[in-house]
Amino acid sequence: DAMVIQNPRYQVTQFGKPVTLSCSQTLNHNVMYWYQQKSSQAPKLLFHYYDKDFNNEADTPDNFQSRRPNTSFCFLDIRSPGLGDAAMYLCATSREGEGFRYTFGSGTRLTVV
């Protein structure tokens, strides 16, 4: 089945130690998004790729970076994780033909120790 896959499902990292989260999709969607969702809060958009074009939200900290080496893969890099970065990170994909409806991955729950 076509889907959005996020790895790992759970990630524990040390304070200040760089960490990379990955997202892959077999839907051939041209738009990929990264959202941060803290406990009991709404998902918050960090950035997205429209094809190869990168779009950063104005309030996304510089600590967060992203890479999209090809259509299928997208990575979220956190250069120096702080305790406040502990959250669920959700990857979503969409494409114009479906009204840009999102398909979410299962998420990566990040713990910073």
Binding site: Y33, A42, L45, H48, F100, R101, Y102, S106, G107
Partner: protein, 113 residues
């Protein structure tokens, strides 16, 4: 430009109906509805585009009032499986459809037997 959802929480008996509202102070291109269960990724329910639409899926339907910039999600004859947090996500009309959704704070729905 976060949309405002109401109510914050609803407790129902199985078989009862519920309405969840989502409103925006700015013109919208689309409204998406998602349901999220604890610890899981959001699941797509439906999307409504500007022009004023009403869509239905079994016992879950939604409407979009373009004049009021308000969408409502209707849950009819609720089932235990409907429990979860419901988020509306909005895309501004200036965005064209792929700029990423801004999610409301969510409505917690609890269905009791």
């Amino acid at each position: 430009q976060q949309p405002v959802q109401s109510p914050q929480a609803v407790i129902l008996r199985e078989g009862e109906d519920a309405v969840i509202n989502c409103s925006s102070s700015k013109a919208l291109y689309s409204v998406h509805w998602y349901r999220q269960k604890h610890g899981e990724a959001p699941v797509f329910l439906m999307i409504l585009l500007k022009g004023g639409e009403q869509k239905g899926h079994e016992k879950i339907s939604a409407s979009f009032n373009e004049k009021k910039q308000q969408s409502s999600l209707y849950l009819t004859a609720s089932q235990l499986s409907y429990s979860g947090t419901y988020f509306c996500g909005t895309e501004l009309d200036s965005g064209g459809g792929a700029d990423g959704l801004t999610f409301g704070k969510g409505t917690h729905l609890i269905i009791q037997p």
